[in-house]
């Protein structure tokens, strides 16, 4: 059994605030607005049970962006989509880290009902994490030209990382 990694837009949207106006067991709508679904698809990454590929997946996410930026994400059990009727498709990712792209998945044909059910199912148990920008910078510079296919990195990010490599610290 593995987990799915879901990249957050803003981690603060996933805060458990226990707001007084919420009915018992209800969740504020903010996390639902944080999920980016396009054409009924939600992009996630599958993480091995021993989490041996998680650093590579984070590398893939960080190297796919336009600029150096912190990465915020959550992990939840991979059995949940099946339990709530969400279809999962193994669609190879297009990140600049070729060795990890086969871990990419899409939740497909998603409806608004499924979106709500998904948020309700994962909100209280999702394991939330953040990698700060300096940590991402260190990760990217250490794998630059190794695991990262530099030719597939967006120009602005490429320029920023190359500056970091030339001016360490």
């Amino acid at each position: 059994m593995g987990q799915y990694l879901l990249k957050f837009g803003k981690k603060r949207n996933w805060d458990d605030l226990g707001l007084a106006w919420l009915p018992r067991g209800a969740i504020q709508a903010d996390p639902a607005t944080d999920l980016r679904i396009s054409s009924g698809k939600l992009s996630v990454w599958w993480i091995e049970e021993d989490r041996s590929n998680i650093d590579l997946v984070i590398l893939a996410l960080a190297s796919s962006r336009q600029h150096l930026e912190k990465i915020e994400f959550g992990l939840f059990e991979d059995t949940i989509p099946g339990q709530i009727g969400i279809k999962v498709a193994e669609e190879v990712g297009v990140s600049p880290v070729p060795s990890v792209n086969h871990y990419h998945r899409n939740f497909i044909e998603m409806t608004t009902d499924q979106l709500t059910t998904l948020v309700n199912s994962i909100f209280f148990n999702i394991s939330k994490s953040r990698k700060l920008k300096p940590e991402i910078t260190k990760l990217l510079t250490s794998e630059w030209g190794n695991k990262i296919d530099v030719g597939n990195v967006k120009p602005d990010l490429r320029s920023e990382i190359e500056n970091e490599i030339q001016l360490p610290g």
């Binding site: 603060r12 805060d15 458990d16 605030l17 336009q66 930026e69 953040r130 700060l132 920008k133 300096p134």
Partner: protein, 272 residues
């Protein structure tokens, strides 16, 4: 509940507490405003002519001289349960506290200076350089509604424009931003992103001002702003921030944010 306040005041959006104009032996040295969980009840301190000194659980706040409390839409000032002196003696409108429903900027200025004001004098003295145009542009940028921040490209455009204004305005821009934070007159999500940029911005001339601004913002009533300040301090990589992050962790009521602050603390310790 505040038992002996007029109903009209309880339903007011703002409450002004003043001990400086009250005479007699009942005048307390400071006021403790008890509300339970301030964040969960939508209560905010709007003007800090006061020492913002939350207790460890953020259930009460100590205020000296005067403070304005506001409630967010959908909340009521009735959630401000009780006001006491430092010895937990309950105060009322006839004993040590004056409530003013309507107030103006000049009312606030007539309050006597407090230690807080003196600590802030570095900021106010430096603010003699007026730049209304810069203030207007910063307020417009930081006041936008930020659903678009979920879009990476829009976020990049915001950061690019904010960096440009920061470069153009230098210390004056930072003073304006501090005012915006103190008066909560902008979108907290925008301010959070702005604080991240302020931490990443490379400019030795404004280093100390940026450091102090972020340390100050760790005490914001907004979890978004507290978060942005901590991320900015991580980006700055100044280990002097350690003690302030530790204090922020102790005071943080949102458990998810507390974990993120601990992440910043661990990062700063790793580079220290």
């Amino acid at each position: 509940m505040i038992s002996d306040l007029e109903p009209s005041i309880l339903s007011s959006m703002k409450l002004f507490l003043c001990e400086s104009s009250v005479t007699g032996s009942f005048v307390p040295e400071s006021l403790l405003l008890h509300a339970g969980d301030w964040d969960a009840k939508g209560l905010h301190l709007k003007y800090l002519n006061a020492v913002e000194n939350f207790d460890i659980n953020r259930e009460w706040v100590e205020a000296k001289t005067g403070v304005i409390v506001s409630s967010a839409p959908g909340y009521s000032l009735a959630d401000l349960r009780v006001i006491t002196d430092p010895h937990n003696v309950i105060l009322s409108s006839s004993r040590g506290v004056r409530y003013v429903e309507e107030f103006t900027g000049s009312t606030v200025k007539h309050l006597r200076p407090t230690q807080y004001d003196m600590e802030q004098s570095l900021w106010t003295q430096s603010e003699t350089v007026e730049n209304p145009s810069l203030a207007r542009r910063l307020k417009a940028l930081l006041g936008i509604q930020l659903r678009e921040f979920d879009d990476e490209l829009e976020g990049i455009e915001f950061k690019s424009e904010f960096t440009r204004l920061l470069r153009q305005g230098g210390k004056t821009a930072l003073h304006i931003i501090k005012k915006i934070i103190d008066t909560e007159s902008a979108n907290p999500e925008a301010l959070s992103s702005a604080l991240e940029v302020i931490g990443e911005y490379s400019d030795p001339e404004t280093y100390e001002e940026r450091f102090r601004l972020m340390v100050s913002a760790l005490k914001s009533t907004s979890r978004w702003i507290r978060d942005g300040a901590s991320i900015g301090l991580a980006a700055l990589g100044d280990i002097r921030a350690l003690e302030f992050i530790e204090k922020a962790i102790s005071a943080e009521p949102v458990s998810d944010l507390k974990e993120d602050l601990e992440g910043v603390l661990a990062y700063l310790r790793s580079i220290g």
